[in-house]
C-alpha cells in the first residue's frame, strides 16, 4: 500500500508539474506576443491544462496524438522540451519544425505528437490513420485525436468516427468542449446532445470534468488500456474552458462571453490551482515542494525563452528545403 501511495504521489506531482509547465509556457508565449517578439499570433491553452495532461499521462511515448491550433498544451503534455518549442514559436531553425511550422503546426515526432493543425477538425483523419497503422502493424499503440467543440461542425470527424468504429481502431476522440468555437457559443453551433454524435456510430462515450486532472486521467487510463486491448474506438467529452480569448489578440470579448463567466471559471475552476490545493490538502506535497516545482518550471521557461530569442533564424537555403522527402 505504501508503495502504491508513493507511486501515486509521483504521478500526481508529475501531472502537477506538467500542468504548471503548460501554464507557464503559455504565459511566456503571451508575453512574447505582447512584447512583439513573436511573429504572427497564437491560441493559448491556459485553463485547459488538465485535459492534455490527464490524457497524455495515460499514454506511452510511442502512442500518437494529433493536436489543434490551440496546441501548445498537447505538445508539452506529450513530452516536448521548452527550448525547441519556443524556438518554433519564434520561427528559429532549432524549433521542432525548423521554424517552418510555427505555433499552429508544432509537431514532435519523437514523442508521438503528429502535429497541431490549423484546420479545425483537420486531424481527425490523421489520428484515425495512426490508429490504423497501430492495428495493422501490431504495435499495440493507440492514438488520441484532440479537438474542440468547434470541430463538431466538421463532416470529416463523422466520416472518421464511422470508419474507426467499423474497423475497431484504437483511437480515442477527445473533444475539449471549452464552450466557444472562435467567438460563438457551442449552443449556437451544435444541435442535440454532443455525445449522441459518437453513440450513433456505436462508439462508447464518457463525459468528465476537464478541470479535474485526476478525473480526466482516470477516464483516459480506462479508455487507453481498453483501446490497446482492441476495444476501441472511444469518445471522451471534456468540459473545460479557455481562460483567454480565441487568440491572443481577442481582447474585447464581452460581446460573446461575459466577464463574470470568465471570472467564475478562473476563481472556482482553475485546474492548476485547484490541483495544488488538493495536493496540499491530501498532504501529497507541502507548500515548499509546490513552490520549488513552480520556481523550477519558471526558470526552465525563462531559460528557454532567452535561448530561443538568441537562436538563429533559418538560412535562406532552407526556404525550398523539405518540400519533398528524399528517398530512404
Amino acid at each position: 500500500m505504501e508503495g502504491n501511495r508513493e507511486r501515486n504521489a509521483d504521478a500526481y506531482l508529475r501531472m502537477y508539474r506538467q500542468m504548471l509547465r503548460i501554464r507557464v509556457f503559455e504565459e511566456n508565449a503571451h508575453q512574447l506576443y505582447l512584447s512583439a517578439k513573436m511573429p504572427g499570433l497564437t491560441h493559448l491553452y491556459i485553463g485547459q491544462e488538465a485535459v492534455a495532461v490527464g490524457i497524455c499521462d495515460a499514454l506511452e511515448p510511442t502512442d500518437r496524438i494529433t493536436s489543434t491550433h490551440r496546441g501548445h498544451g498537447h505538445c508539452v503534455a506529450k513530452g516536448a522540451g521548452f527550448r525547441q518549442m519556443f524556438c518554433e514559436l519564434l520561427g528559429k531553425s532549432e524549433g521542432f519544425c525548423r521554424g517552418k511550422g510555427g505555433s499552429m503546426h508544432i509537431a514532435d515526432q519523437e514523442n508521438g505528437n503528429l502535429g497541431a493543425n490549423a484546420i479545425v477538425g483537420g486531424s481527425a483523419g490523421i489520428a484515425t490513420g495512426a490508429a490504423l497503422s497501430a492495428k495493422r502493424l501490431g504495435s499495440g499503440g493507440v492514438a488520441v485525436c484532440f479537438f474542440g467543440d468547434g470541430a463538431l461542425g466538421q463532416g470529416l470527424l463523422y466520416e472518421c468516427m464511422n470508419i474507426a468504429s467499423l474497423w475497431k481502431l484504437p483511437v480515442i476522440y477527445a473533444c475539449e468542449n471549452n464552450h466557444y468555437g472562435e467567438y460563438t457559443h457551442v449552443s449556437e453551433m451544435a444541435s442535440g446532445d454532443l455525445l449522441d454524435r459518437a453513440r450513433a456510430f456505436g462508439i462508447e462515450t464518457a463525459t468528465v470534468d476537464g478541470q479535474n486532472v485526476l478525473e480526466v486521467n482516470e477516464a483516459a487510463e480506462g479508455f487507453v488500456s481498453r483501446a490497446r486491448a482492441g476495444q476501441g474506438p472511444f469518445f471522451l467529452l471534456l468540459d473545460t474552458y479557455r481562460f483567454h480569448g480565441h487568440h491572443v489578440g481577442d481582447i474585447s470579448r464581452e460581446y460573446y462571453r461575459a466577464k463574470e463567466e470568465e471570472e467564475l471559471w478562473k476563481s472556482e475552476r482553475d485546474p492548476v490551482s485547484n490541483f495544488a490545493k488538493w495536493l496540499r490538502g491530501e498532504s501529497v506535497a507541502s507548500d515548499d515542494e509546490l513552490n520549488r516545482i513552480e520556481s523550477e518550471v519558471r526558470r526552465e521557461a525563462e531559460d528557454a525563452v532567452e535561448y530561443a530569442l538568441a537562436a538563429p533564424y533559418p538560412g535562406s537555403e532552407e526556404v525550398d528545403m523539405h518540400v519533398f522527402a528524399e528517398a530512404g
Binding site: G101, A107, L114, I119, T128, G129, L132, R136, A325
Partner: protein, 331 residues
C-alpha cells in the same frame, strides 16, 4: 513483347509492390470484391486479403485523411478515388495535410502515399464524372502528379509512385483502361520527372499529356503526309516537370504546341506553354499554341461533348499555321 491493357498494368503494379512490401495497403470504395467499377483491381483482395485491400464507406475525405495519418506512421497507403471529379472532396486532406506535412514539420514527418484517380471526357458521363483536374493538384507544392499515357507508363510510374516518400497523385485516362500496349514481363520503374520522346521530328514539337499523347501522335501522322515532321513529347509527370526535354525539343524544332485535357484557363497547358515561351523564346519561329478542354462544364450530349476536347485534326491545323508563321489561337 506481350501486350496488356492499362487496367491490367495497374493491377500488376499494385500486386507486385504489395508482394514486395507488406506495409502497403489499398483503401477505397469497392476496391475489394468489386475491384472498382472499372474492374481494375479485381483479384487483389483474393491474394492480399481484406486487411490490406480495404473497402471503405463512401467517405472520400475520411479515408483519404486516414491514409495520410497511416502514411505518417508506417504504412504506405494507396488510395483509390473512383473518379477524378471527387478530388474536390479530398482537397483539404490532400492539399492542406498530405502536401504540407513534410515541410511544416521541418522534414521530420513524411507522407508516402499514392492517390490513384482518373481523368478524361467523351465517356458520356457529364460534368461531374468527366473532368481532368490534374492542374489543381499540380499547383500545390509538395504533391507529385503523374499522367500515364499507356499501359507501359501506367505500370512503371505507379510502381515508382508507391516507392516514393511523398504523396503522389496518379491520373489514369478512363477511356484508356482497355487500351493495350507492350509491357515487359520483367520489373521496371519509370522515374518521376522524366519525359519521353514518343516520336522524333524536326519541324514542330507537340507536347501531349495522358490521352493527348495519342492525339498528338495522330496529328503527327496527318502532318507527315504533308511533309511536316512533328516531334511528340510525353512529359509523363507534370510535377515534377521534365522541362529540359521539352525545351530542348522546342529549341530544336522552333515551334511548339501543348495539348492537355484539363481546362484551358490556368491549366497544365498554360504552364507548359509559359515555360517554353519564357525559356525558349529566342528559338521560336511562331507563338506557342495551346489545345485544351474548353472552359465549359463537360456537357452530356455526345454532339456537344466532342466539341470540348482537342482533336488530331485541330492540332494538325495548328501545326500547319505554325509552319506558315501565322498567329493562331486555338479555340
Amino acid at each position: 513483347m506481350r501486350e496488356i491493357t492499362l487496367s491490367q498494368a495497374v493491377n500488376e503494379a499494385i500486386a507486385e509492390e504489395m508482394r514486395r512490401d507488406p506495409t502497403i495497403v489499398l483503401l477505397g470504395e469497392d476496391v475489394a470484391e468489386a475491384g472498382t467499377p472499372f474492374k481494375i483491381l479485381s483479384g487483389l483482395v483474393d491474394e492480399f486479403g481484406p486487411e490490406r485491400v480495404v473497402d471503405t464507406p463512401i467517405s472520400e475525405p475520411g479515408f483519404t485523411g486516414i491514409a495520410v495519418g497511416a502514411a505518417m506512421t508506417g504504412l504506405r497507403p494507396i488510395v483509390d478515388i473512383m473518379f477524378g471529379d471527387f478530388l474536390f472532396l479530398i482537397m483539404d486532406q490532400l492539399c492542406n495535410q498530405a502536401a504540407k506535412t513534410h515541410y511544416m514539420s521541418g522534414g521530420k514527418l513524411k507522407v508516402p502515399m499514392v492517390v490513384r484517380t482518373n481523368m478524361g471526357a467523351t465517356r458520356r458521363s457529364a460534368a461531374q464524372h468527366s473532368q481532368s483536374l490534374h492542374a489543381l493538384v499540380a499547383h500545390i507544392p509538395g504533391l507529385k502528379v503523374a499522367m500515364p499515357a499507356t499501359a507501359f507508363e501506367a505500370k512503371g510510374l505507379l510502381k515508382t509512385a508507391i516507392r516514393d516518400e511523398n504523396p503522389v497523385v496518379i491520373f489514369e485516362d478512363k477511356l484508356s483502361y482497355q487500351e493495350k500496349a507492350p509491357v515487359p514481363e520483367e520489373e521496371y520503374l519509370i522515374a518521376l520527372g522524366e519525359a519521353c520522346i514518343r516520336r522524333e521530328g524536326s519541324d514542330v514539337t507537340l507536347v501531349g499529356t495522358s490521352s493527348m499523347v495519342q492525339v498528338a501522335l495522330d496529328a503527327a501522322d496527318l502532318l507527315a503526309g504533308e511533309g511536316i515532321s512533328a516531334e511528340v513529347i510525353d512529359p509523363r509527370t507534370i510535377a515534377p516537370l521534365d522541362e529540359d526535354t521539352i525545351l530542348a525539343s522546342a529549341r530544336k524544332t522552333s515551334r511548339a504546341i501543348v495539348i492537355d485535357e484539363g481546362h484551358r484557363s490556368y491549366g497544365a497547358s498554360a504552364e507548359i506553354a509559359a515555360r517554353i515561351a519564357e525559356k525558349a523564346f529566342y528559338w521560336l519561329d511562331a507563338p506557342v499554341q495551346r489545345f485544351a478542354a474548353m472552359d465549359v462544364p463537360i456537357p452530356f450530349s455526345p454532339e456537344l461533348e466532342d466539341l470540348t476536347v482537342p482533336t488530331p485534326a485541330a492540332v494538325a491545323e495548328g501545326a500547319r499555321r505554325a509552319m506558315r508563321g501565322e498567329l493562331f489561337h486555338a479555340p
